[in-house]
């Protein structure tokens, strides 16, 4: 019998050489006449160990990593295909602390299977949520999602159930489901991991959303920087169509749903839902006024659900195991789990799905293992480029939407970027404005012009020019942007800027004050 070997195929593992390792293992097995069966699985999200190669044994899967092509010979010498010891042996994969200490609900299948094997997906509880949903009325599906407490995982944390209810109640023959897969926030990659490693869960979530609100057409608006995800999604959509999970009379019901991937074109602002809709309609991605909400007048003026990848990919497990199963995780009004992405200057980077309530400290040190450079962690940015920078004094804060908002920070899409003590925070603040100037759609003056003026004011402060006056000008500019911008681009850029100024004034050439 052939030995079963798993080598990941997601773009991060490939970016670290997984394809070359695959080729080398294949060649070596032929040379040595060893019968192996290679599965190109997804990544389990332990990126400091990628490319991580796994072998199926009678005790479960065991892992080796990180594997370089030069390690392949010694792997064969030690007969790794039997699960033997090797200097890069990591033991039973699921016993690795990083994985053992997680609560993987949305990510239950990620890294385990071949992403486009629908048989694997079905075998591992796939489409159970859809099958349950097909037996329910639209109202009851929406109720289940409302009861689960699921909130928008893209960053805004708006209750998904309320959004769905609004679309359900909007009278219209035509409605749309739009998946926001324009994952542009730096430090985030959980959407990409779902799309590359378990695309069927997103497809299933979108079908259920269609069923819940009465929409028959879905679009996945995918950022152009993710060509790998596009290939996998399209492959998965074709398979789902063939198996009648998409198309007409889904699983023998009256329900029909079609799904299509639309490739974006590199504008960060198109992650904002109204700008995304404009773009999808073939226009410049200019932000729209709200109201009307997209749930009432969205794509082509029709009621539209716009949800993030993770929100939609969490729907199937809720519909499979029930609202209370999901709502039992988490704290306060932050129910369920969040796929947290540990990025930047950390020893152990990757994907950690945990119930809300875990502290930054646990994430940075227990999971992350401290900084990669071995220096003290000076600051972290949570929630992407529009999220506040937080100093060590705030690392005890639990991951919870409300707790974060109390300190003018955001959980956002769950990305955490760590910086060591060599970072200069005035430079990061300046970069925040620079990024805003590059990516602003230009509709609101405070965002379009304020971002450039902000760069100049920071430069003046750093140069020691009229510091007191310029600091107050910077705060005033921040206020204007927060209150005078339509969307989060201009409305939140001051968060990283002002937090950097408050927590790290010495980096701006100012006296350190107690904050």
């Amino acid at each position: 019998m052939a030995y079963k070997i798993f080598i990941p195929r997601d773009s991060s593992s490939v970016s670290l050489g997984a394809d070359k390792v695959y080729q080398e293992i294949l060649n070596e097995s032929k040379k040595r006449n060893i019968d192996i069966d290679i599965v190109r699985n997804g990544s389990r999200g332990l990126f400091w160990l990628e490319p991580m190669v796994e072998v199926e044994t009678s005790n479960g899967r065991v892992a080796y990593g990180p594997i370089n092509i030069y390690d392949v010979n010694s792997l064969f010498e030690s007969k790794f295909f039997l699960g033997n010891e090797h200097p890069l042996f990591l033991g039973i994969t699921e016993d690795i602390n990083w994985l053992k200490n997680q609560e993987r609900l949305t990510y239950a299948r990620v890294g385990i299977t071949d992403p486009v094997s629908i048989e694997d997906y079905e075998r591992l509880d796939g489409f159970k949520g859809l099958k349950n949903s097909l037996k329910l009325s639209s109202e009851n599906i929406v109720k289940e999602i409302s009861d689960s407490g699921l909130r928008g995982r893209g960053g805004a944390a708006f209750p998904t159930g309320i959004k769905w209810k609004t679309v359900l109640d909007a009278p219209s023959k035509k409605k749309y489901i739009v998946c926001n897969a324009d994952e542009g926030d730096s430090g985030t990659f959980s959407d990409r991991m779902i799309m590359e490693n378990d695309p069927f869960v997103l497809i299933e979530g979108m079908i259920i959303a269609g069923l819940a609100v009465g929409a028959d057409q879905g679009y996945i608006y995918l950022r152009s920087e993710y060509p790998h995800a596009q290939k996998i999604l399209n492959e998965a959509i074709d398979i789902a169509l063939e198996k009648n999970y998409l198309g007409k009379n889904i699983l023998g019901s009256d329900f029909q749903f079609n799904l299509e991937v639309t490739r974006a074109a590199g504008a960060y602002i198109c992650g904002e839902e109204t700008s995304l809709l404009e773009s999808l309609e073939g226009k410049r991605g200019m932000v729209r006024y709200k109201p009307p909400l997209p749930a009432i007048e969205g794509l082509y003026g029709k009621p539209t659900v716009v949800n993030n990848v993770i929100s939609l990919a969490t729907v199937p497990i809720i519909m499979d195991k029930g609202a209370s199963f999901y709502a039992n995780y988490g704290m306060g009004r932050s129910k369920g789990t969040l796929p947290i992405q540990l990025a930047g200057n950390l020893k152990q980077t990757g994907l950690v799905e945990k119930a809300f309530g875990i502290s930054l400290k646990e994430l940075l040190y227990d999971f992350g293992g401290g900084s990669a450079t071995g220096r003290p962690i000076k600051a972290v940015q949570v929630g992407g480029p529009l999220g506040a920078f937080l100093p060590e004094a705030q690392f005890d804060i639990p991951l919870d939407y409300e707790k974060f908002s109390e300190i003018k920070a955001v959980v956002g899409h769950g990305g955490i970027v760590a910086f060591d003590d060599t970072v200069n925070m005035s430079k990061m603040a300046r970069y925040s404005f620079e990024f805003c100037a590059i990516e602003s759609c230009g509709k609101c003056t405070p965002c379009r012009i304020g971002s450039t003026r902000g760069i100049e004011v920071i430069d003046k402060i750093k140069d020691g020019l009229d510091q007191e006056k310029n600091v107050s000008l910077l705060r005033d500019l921040g206020d204007t942007m927060v209150n005078g911008s339509l969307c989060a681009m201009g409305g939140m850029t001051p968060f990283p800027v002002i937090s950097a100024l408050n927590y790290f004034p010495e980096d701006f050439g100012l006296e350190k004050t107690e904050t």
Binding site: S12, S15, F47, S186, G187, G344, T349, P385
Partner: protein, 157 residues
């Protein structure tokens, strides 16, 4: 520069292909750029006519999106991630190294036409920072040695 007849022909095929598709401009521009390497401004007139849009609207669309370009780039496109996660892992050094080695700034192409250098704001490879993308391949944990190799391969391609 006028379009070659083969370019015009390709463009009109794509214009027809997406004619009845809602939101046609996005897939249309992708199709043109994927094939020709850029979106020629000379194509605006025929798109305008077929889609009942003004040339200004088409120009506005193309220039809004960072991904679309109106001039032919070098044979290879090297994108360097400038976002926060990569910065925390030394992307600025990588940026300087590339610019110095290639002798060009962002949005420029080397004299031998082998590489166009572009900034990018997040490749979603933040757990493997610093990251770059060469054409459609992402490379993680980039070092100057890896850059040397990538540039060498690009020049030989």
């Amino acid at each position: 520069m006028a379009l070659s007849s083969s370019q015009s022909e390709k463009i009109s095929v794509y214009i027809q292909k997406y004619q009845d598709k809602p939101g046609a401009l996005l897939p249309l521009m992708h199709a043109i750029q994927d094939d020709l390497g850029f979106v020629p401004e000379e194509s605006y007139a025929s798109i305008s006519k077929a889609y009942n849009l003004s040339v200004a609207e088409i120009h506005g669309f193309v220039t809004f999106y960072h991904h679309f370009r109106t001039h032919l780039p070098g044979k290879n496109i090297l994108q360097i991630c400038r976002a926060e996660s990569c910065q925390s892992m030394g992307s600025e050094d990588i940026e300087n190294y590339c610019q110095e080695k290639l002798g060009i700034d962002y949005h420029q192409t080397t004299k031998d036409n082998s590489i166009t250098l572009e900034p990018v704001y997040c490749l979603g490879n933040c757990a493997c920072s610093p990251a770059i993308m060469i054409n459609e391949d992402v490379v993680g944990r980039v070092t100057p040695e890896k850059i040397d190799q990538i540039i060498k391969e690009a020049r030989e391609s």
